[in-house]
Every structure is written in structure tokens, then in C-alpha cells.
């Protein structure tokens, strides 16, 4: 057996014999399992609720009686975003986004009823998920288990003894690292088990899961190296512990909070109110539907009349109001898309700025990777919003087209007692409107989105590994 494995075995034996170490390790294992369990049941509860509401909303929509199609445009439809499977591991921004949307004509509503607005302040303390345990707490355990690995030998003088006996400082470092890395692997094991449980579910995504395993593995390995490096560089065990605690606080707790603050101040988002007003103004500039002589709508009328070769609206084979609704929706939707895109561009810039802090905080890099692979990041939310808007547009336009094709213009205009009945079309039509089906991101998309985070983490890992060399040299000289 070579020196490295001997040293690693010795270190592991020491940890095994230390009651505090064993208890801490057992507690973390329990915590991971509890987190996995809680997270899993929480997520399936949410998924079930959302599925139930989705079914209820769909049933209510199709159960509407005979109506004027435009009434259905305003009745609208509720849609819900199903949770991605990996949200049980890392729910990401789910608690903050809201997952239901009310879709109606001429309006783009916000996603509402996020957990954060209907929970107590405790939600801001973070959520107990496997991702949280591995990102935040596991490094702390590695710090506690490993801070003394080298510093202890130096403090007690055994380091000098070993060096004199011909054990190289590099072997010593690698041996200690091996021991801690084994512990790190054990720390990650329960989470991996939880992961495999999820993988057993239908629809699990192999690619993103592989990236996540790789990412979390690199993260824990990185922390093992950092712990050993600091333990080797700092002379006393106590100082090593304090330095590592400070490092952990800055990298895992402080920077992830400071970065978003800087991002929010750098790239400011307009408020909804401003966006709404701006859209209204733009619409007004395009054409004023309330003005009978408005040039835009006059031109549209002329175009329609020319297209059908008639002189009067009343002579059209279709309902002019329906066509007008289609045209109006087209206009407003284009504006909605435009403003939504602008808002997302700002948000993406914010997120990118935050991600850049991953260069100085591996915790940020890992969080980015984890959420991206799980599909629970901003992009995942945007995907939902984009699909919701596409669905809203299709639904509204289908209803508008129904108005053009099946409601007579004369009835639409009529105000007599029976007019209300004549305007209505059969409820069967509601069945022809397809249900909203959220199309989750493909494996390729998720993997691709998580690669930048993975790249950063691997760069960190490589950098830390390289740093072992000069530190070993310094340690070797400590013999003098």
C-alpha cells in the first residue's frame, strides 16, 4: 500500500473514532433523506393540486353554455404549469413564480399565487430540499471534518516527523484529500439515492441528471480541496477552522445574496403599471378603435371590403366584428410579445450578471447548473409564459374566428329582445378548442442550459487541483 492510501486510511480511522464526527455525519445523512422525502411529497402534492385545478378549469371551460364567442374570450381559461420532475430535487424559483395564469382576450395577465405570497416569512429562510442540503450544508460538514487534517499534524509536530521519515508533502496532501473526498462521496450518497428514486419515475431525464451528478460531485470535490488547502496553509487548527468558516460564509451565504442585489440595481425592470400604460399608448398610436374615422381602422375596412368585393360591411359573407377582433388581437399580442421580450431581456441580463459571480463563488455556479438542469430556473418560467401566451393567442383567435364565421353581423349589431339568443353559438364549439399542454424543455435544452455552470465548476476544480502543487511545496519547506 502506498503512502497516500495509508494516510487516507489513517485519517478515515481517526474520523470514525471521533464521536462528534460520526454524529454530524449521521445527522447530515438524516437531513438529506428527510429533505428528499419532504421535498418529494411537497412536490407531488403541488403537482396533484395543479393537475386537479387544471382538470377543473378545463371542465368548466367546456361546460359553458351556448354563448357569444366574445363572451368566451372574456371567460378565458386558466392554465397551470406542471412541475418538472427534477423540481423534487431542486425546486428553484417555483415558490416565487406562481404557476397559474388566467388567459383572456386583449390582456396579458401575470402568473399568480406563487407560494411566497401565501406562506409565512419562513419561506425566505430557504427551503429544505436535497439541493439546499448539498449546496449549503454539505460543504460546512466537510469544513468541520477536514479543517484539522493537515493543521493538526503541524500543530502536534507529527508533520515534521512524517516529512523526516520521507513521506512527501504531496503524498500527505493527497492522502488527506482522498480521505475527505471519500467522506464527500458518502455525504452525496443519500442525495444520489433520492435522485435514483426520481430517475425511476417515468419521464426522468438522463442527460440533465448526469450533468447534475457531475456538477454536485465537482462541487463537493472542490470543497474537499479547499478545506485541505486551507488546512495546509494555516498554521493552527483553530485559525484553519475560522478561515474556512469565513470562506464558507462569503461564498455560500453572502455572495449569493449580494450578487442579485447588484444585478437588480444595475438592470432595472419597469413596473407592470408602466408597461400596461406604455402598451395602451402604443395601441392608441396604432389606431383608435373608438374613433370611427381612425385611419388605421378605415384602411382595414377598405382592405376587407376589397378582399370580398363588396361595398358595405353588411354585405360581407363573414361577420366584420369578428375580423376586427382578430385584427385587434393581432395588434395587441404583437405589443405584448414585444414588451414581454423587453422585460425578459432585462431579467436575463440580471440573471447573467448574477451568474458571472459564479467566477468568485462556486455555490452560485452550482445553483445555476442545478436549476438549469432541473428546468426550474428563470428560463423554465419563461418557457411556461411563452407557451401560455402562444396558447392564449391561438385560443382567442379561434374564438374570434368563430365570431366572424358563425355569428351574423346583423345579429351582432341587433339590440332587440331576441338578439341575445341569436348571437349565441352552440356550446359544442368550446370542445373544439384544444387543451393547454405544457411542452417541457427537451433533454438537450436542459443540458445545454446547464453547461455554463458546469464549465465554471470544472474550472474551479482544475484551479484548486493545481493550487495543491505550490501548497505542497510550501508544506515541504515547513520541515525547516
Amino acid at each position: 500500500m502506498n503512502a497516500i492510501t495509508l494516510i487516507a486510511r489513517d485519517e478515515l480511522r481517526l474520523m470514525r473514532r471521533n464521536r462528534v464526527t460520526v454524529i454530524a455525519f449521521a445527522l447530515l445523512t438524516l437531513l438529506t433523506l428527510a429533505a428528499a422525502l419532504i421535498s418529494w411529497s411537497h412536490q407531488s402534492g403541488i403537482a396533484e393540486t395543479r393537475a386537479r385545478f387544471q382538470a377543473q378549469a378545463a371542465q368548466e371551460f367546456t361546460a359553458q353554455p351556448d354563448r357569444h364567442p366574445h363572451r368566451m374570450v372574456h371567460f378565458g381559461n386558466f392554465i397551470f404549469r406542471p412541475l418538472p420532475l427534477l423540481a423534487a430535487f431542486d425546486p428553484g424559483v417555483d415558490a416565487f413564480t406562481g404557476n397559474s395564469m388566467f388567459l383572456e382576450g386583449h390582456r396579458q395577465n401575470s402568473a399568480n399565487f406563487g407560494d411566497v405570497r401565501q406562506s409565512s416569512l419562513l419561506v425566505r429562510f430557504g427551503q429544505l430540499t436535497p439541493a439546499f442540503v448539498l449546496q449549503v450544508i454539505a460543504p460546512l460538514l466537510l469544513v468541520f471534518l477536514g479543517y484539522g487534517a493537515v493543521a493538526r499534524e503541524r500543530e502536534r509536530g507529527t508533520l515534521r516527523q512524517m516529512l523526516v521519515q520521507g513521506v512527501s508533502a504531496r503524498a500527505l496532501l493527497l492522502g488527506k484529500l482522498l480521505a475527505l473526498a471519500i467522506v464527500a462521496a458518502l455525504v452525496g450518497l443519500p442525495a444520489l439515492a433520492a435522485f435514483l428514486l426520481i430517475a425511476g419515475q417515468p419521464g426522468a431525464l438522463a442527460g440533465p441528471m448526469a450533468v447534475m451528478v457531475l456538477g454536485y460531485g465537482a462541487y463537493l470535490a472542490l470543497w474537499s480541496i479547499i478545506v485541505i488547502l486551507v488546512s495546509a496553509l494555516v498554521r493552527r487548527g483553530r485559525d484553519a477552522l475560522l478561515a474556512l468558516l469565513a470562506l464558507w460564509t462569503v461564498l455560500v451565504i453572502l455572495l449569493p445574496r449580494v450578487a442579485p442585489d447588484i444585478a437588480a440595481q444595475t438592470h432595472m425592470l419597469p413596473t407592470r403599471l408602466e408597461t400596461d400604460i406604455a402598451i395602451q399608448q402604443d395601441l392608441h398610436r396604432l389606431g383608435d378603435a373608438h374613433n370611427p374615422d381612425d385611419p388605421f381602422f378605415t384602411a382595414f375596412r377598405q382592405k376587407v371590403l376589397r378582399h370580398y368585393g363588396v361595398d358595405r360591411i353588411e354585405d360581407l359573407p363573414v361577420n366584420y366584428n369578428g375580423l376586427l377582433a382578430v385584427e385587434g388581437e393581432k395588434l395587441t399580442s404583437r405589443l405584448f410579445d414585444d414588451y414581454a421580450k423587453r422585460s425578459f431581456t432585462v431579467q436575463q441580463a440580471q440573471s447573467r450578471l448574477t451568474d458571472d459571480f459564479g467566477i468568485i463563488s462556486p455555490a452560485i455556479a452550482l445553483r445555476r447548473l442545478s436549476m438549469a438542469a432541473a428546468g426550474t430556473d428563470l428560463e423554465g418560467h419563461r418557457r411556461f409564459l411563452a407557451q401560455a401566451e402562444a396558447y392564449r393567442y391561438a385560443m382567442v383567435q379561434q374564438l374570434n374566428q368563430l365570431q366572424a364565421d358563425t355569428v351574423r353581423y346583423a345579429d351582432d349589431k341587433a339590440k332587440d329582445a331576441g338578439a341575445d339568443q341569436r348571437k349565441r353559438i352552440s356550446a359544442d364549439h368550446w370542445q373544439t378548442i384544444p387543451q393547454f399542454r405544457f411542452k417541457p424543455a427537451t433533454t438537450g435544452d436542459l443540458v445545454e442550459a446547464s453547461l455554463p455552470g458546469l464549465g465554471l465548476l470544472l474550472a474551479w476544480l482544475a484551479f484548486a487541483l493545481l493550487a495543491l502543487l505550490p501548497v505542497a511545496r510550501i508544506l515541504q519547506k515547513a520541515r525547516a
Binding site: 462528534v20 454530524a24 428527510a34 411537497h42 385545478f53 368548466e60 354563448r67 363572451r71 372574456h74 378565458g76 386558466f78 416565487f96 413564480t97 397559474s100 388566467f102 401575470s110 402568473a111 399568480n112 406563487g114 411566497v116 405570497r117 401565501q118 406562506s119 409565512s120 416569512l121 419562513l122 425566505r124 429562510f125 430557504g126 427551503q127 429544505l128 449549503v136 450544508i137 460546512l140 468541520f144 487548527g237 483553530r238 477552522l241 475560522l242 468558516l245 469565513a246 451565504i253 453572502l254 449580494v258 442579485p260 442585489d261 437588480a264 440595481q265 425592470l269 419597469p270 413596473t271 407592470r272 403599471l273 395602451q280 431579467q347 448574477t354 428563470l378 418560467h381 332587440d416 329582445a417
Partner: protein, 418 residues
């Protein structure tokens, strides 16, 4: 030279102690600055929307006045409400980053408008804001640990403990002095930036004193914990490790477990449920006799029951009536939803008595008026304003009074709370 100045020199000569104190002061100052910048931004936004809102109203008035129809005016007029940050909001931003502080409403059904969110980047909200409450609740205990974990054990390990004891009799006054000095300096490092920020933000003195008291209490709690652990006569390393473990459990693990437990034990009838019900109730009006709707409306609003009966033609008073009746039909659901949220909040506050981290956060956000209660109070103000709005338009709608251009200026305006 007094003993205290000796002790001060001793403490500040220690590089780690000096660094820790400077860092606390720096973090506190940075968090106060960040909080004040955010609050200033929110105030700016609130100020910025006023002219835009006025312009928007004028634009609506421009064309809607021609119809002289109060219904058209009411339908197209959006009225702004806002929730001005309190002077202390900078210290604890609370829910202000995720809950809207500006909301436009019109006289239509409120339940379909009240829960609309503001545009925000959820990735930025996820880790929480960097404000004074964060520095206090999360980081300060770590600095207390750094400064106090070796208070006695450090002297023991350096071999000075016997000499100190022999020199000072019992030594009790020595430790008391050192604890007070370190605690006092920590308090200063935290409270000085806070106080400067508070004075600039015109925080009332009693509030400021309460926050300072809270800071002192929280410090005292953590100092007490470190002293208790110190009594075990373990090594400095063991003290530090134990204390960091306690910190982890008290500020990260237990609150998250409590969160899961509360949300599990107190289910909140999802807001979606009441919105679905409200929509169903509102839209049903198109399919039932209009007289039914009006009867239901007049039952709740008898002051308008002498309004002329409806004809076959569309009349906006019926439209606004069924929106209101829709809202009223889900009132029990609304109450249940709100009670659920309040019960969760109360439960979390209860846990604050057991977990100081939660307790301090709850107390700070309460003092800063940025907590759930403040959110609900804002909703209440919107509700009250919405009622005023409706009554204003009802007066025209139910008496068939033409709505002139000047009447747009007579509409009630929201009085922003402080």
C-alpha cells in the same frame, strides 16, 4: 489609563478581532446602503408612475367623455394604488421584493385584480435580499462566535488563565468587562450604520430605539450561547465547531423545517380556487335573467334599488352589478384564504419565540412594515379604495347621470400610506 482602555487596546491589537469588527461595520453599512438604495428606487418608481398615470387617465377622459357614459368611463379607467415604503423599510425589505407595491384597479370585480403580481425576476428573489436584517440575523451570530468562542479557552490555551486568575482574584469582573467590551463594540459596529441610515430616512425615535433594542437582544442571545458553550471548558476549536453547528441549526435548518411543517399543517385554500369560483360567478350573469342579478345586487346595496328598471338594451349598471355580485359570492372563500395566510403568519411568529433568528426577522419586518401583515393591510387599503371607486361610479350609473369630462377629476384618488 483605565482598565477599559487597556482592554480596548488589547482587543484591537488582535488582528482577527479588529478585522471582524471592521467587517461587521462594513457589512452593516453596505446593507444599510443597499437597503436605502432599494427603498429610494421604490419611492422613485412610485413618484415616476404618478404623471404617467395622470396622462393615461387624461387620455381615457379625452375620448370616453364624449360618450358621457359613466359605464364607459368606469370600465376604461384604471386607478393606481401604491404602498409607500415605511421609513424603516430599508432595514428589512421583507416581502417588498416579491409582492407588488403598485397595483392598478378598476371598478370591476376586485378578486380578479387583487392578486396580480408585479414583474420581478424570481432568480433574484430566490436567495433573499442583502439588507440589514440579513446581516443581523445570519451574519452577526457568526461574528459573535468569532469574537467570543475563545474568550476563556483562548487564555487557557495560551497559558495565561492561571496568571490572570491569580492576578485578579476571582477574575469575574475581568470576563464581564471583556464580554461587555466585545459585545458593545459589536453593537456599535451594527447600530452606528443603522442609526445613520435611520436618521437619514427619518425613522421615528421610538422605532429606532426598538430596532436597536432588538439588535442588542439578539447579540445578547448569541453571546449567552457562546458563554454557555464556553462553560463546558472545551478547546477553542471545539467551541467554534459546536457554535457553528448551533448557528446552522438555528438559522438554516430549523426555520426551513418549520416552514414545511406550517405549510403542511395549515393548508391555504389555494387562491386559484377563489379566482376560479369568482370567474364562474361573474360570467354566469350572461346566462341568467338579468333581474336575478339586479335583485342580488340591490339586496347588498339597497341605496340604489330605486334605480330605473333595465330595458332590453345593454346597461353598464348591470355589468358592474354582476361583477360586484360575483365578488360577494366568493366572500367566504376570500375570508378563508386570507385566514389561512394569517394563520401561517401567526404560526411563524409563534416559532419566533423559540427561534430567535425567526423572531428577530419577524419583529424587524413588523417594525419596518414590510411583512405579510403589511401586505394584507395594503390589500385592505386597496379594498377600501375599490369600494370608494365603485360608489363613485354607482352614483352616476344608477341615476343615469351623464359623466362629463370634469367628472373624471372628481374620481376618488388613492391616499398612499406611509
Amino acid at each position: 489609563m483605565t482598565l477599559l482602555t487597556h482592554e480596548l487596546r488589547l482587543l484591537l491589537r488582535s488582528r482577527m478581532a479588529l478585522l471582524a469588527l471592521l467587517l461587521v461595520a462594513l457589512l452593516a453599512a453596505a446593507s444599510v446602503a443597499a437597503g436605502m438604495a432599494e427603498v429610494a428606487r421604490q419611492r422613485d418608481v412610485i413618484a415616476r408612475i404618478q404623471p404617467k398615470q395622470a396622462q393615461d387617465m387624461a387620455a381615457v377622459a379625452q375620448w370616453a367623455a364624449e360618450t358621457k357614459d359613466p359605464g364607459t368611463a368606469a370600465y376604461y379607467s384604471f386607478h393606481a394604488t401604491w404602498d409607500t415604503p415605511s421609513p424603516l423599510a430599508f432595514a428589512a425589505l421583507g416581502l417588498r421584493d416579491v409582492a407588488p407595491y403598485i397595483l392598478r384597479v378598476r371598478a370591476l370585480g376586485l378578486e380578479a385584480q387583487l392578486y396580480d403580481g408585479e414583474a420581478f425576476n424570481p432568480e433574484l428573489a430566490l436567495p433573499g435580499r442583502f439588507d440589514f436584517s440579513f446581516v443581523l440575523v445570519y451574519l452577526t451570530p457568526l461574528f459573535v462566535i468569532a469574537l467570543f468562542h475563545d474568550l476563556v479557552s483562548g487564555e487557557r490555551e495560551a497559558g495565561r488563565l492561571r496568571m490572570l486568575d491569580a492576578l485578579t482574584g476571582s477574575g469575574r469582573s475581568l470576563w464581564r468587562r471583556r464580554v461587555l467590551l466585545r459585545g458593545g463594540l459589536l453593537f456599535l459596529a451594527l447600530a452606528a450604520p443603522l442609526t445613520i441610515g435611520a436618521i437619514q430616512s427619518a425613522v421615528p425615535l421610538p422605532t429606532l430605539l426598538s430596532v436597536q433594542g432588538l439588535v442588542a437582544l439578539y447579540l445578547a442571545f448569541w453571546i449567552g450561547v457562546t458563554l454557555l458553550v464556553g462553560r463546558m471548558r472545551w478547546s477553542s476549536v471545539a467551541n467554534a465547531a459546536t457554535l457553528a453547528g448551533i448557528w446552522l441549526v438555528l438559522t438554516l435548518i430549523l426555520p426551513t423545517i418549520a416552514h414545511v411543517a406550517i405549510n403542511r399543517l395549515i393548508p391555504v385554500g389555494e387562491g386559484v380556487e377563489l379566482t376560479l369560483a369568482q370567474r364562474e360567478a361573474v360570467n354566469r350573469a350572461w346566462d341568467i335573467p338579468r333581474a336575478d342579478t339586479m335583485r342580488a345586487f340591490y339586496a347588498g346595496h339597497p341605496e340604489w334599488k330605486d334605480s330605473p328598471p333595465l330595458t332590453d338594451a345593454f346597461h353598464y349598471k348591470w355589468y358592474f352589478a354582476f361583477h360586484q355580485v360575483g365578488d360577494e359570492s366568493v366572500a367566504p372563500k376570500v375570508a378563508a384564504y386570507r385566514n389561512g395566510i394569517e394563520a401561517r403568519d401567526t404560526a411563524a411568529r409563534g416559532i419566533g419565540w423559540l427561534l430567535p433568528s425567526v423572531g428577530v426577522q419577524a419583529a424587524l419586518t413588523r417594525l419596518a412594515n414590510t411583512d405579510m401583515a403589511a401586505q394584507l393591510a395594503y390589500q385592505d387599503r386597496i379594498r377600501a379604495f375599490h369600494e370608494k371607486l365603485r360608489n363613485f361610479y354607482y352614483r352616476y350609473l344608477f341615476t343615469d347621470t351623464p359623466f362629463e369630462k370634469d367628472d373624471f377629476d372628481r374620481a376618488p384618488t388613492f391616499v398612499g400610506g406611509a
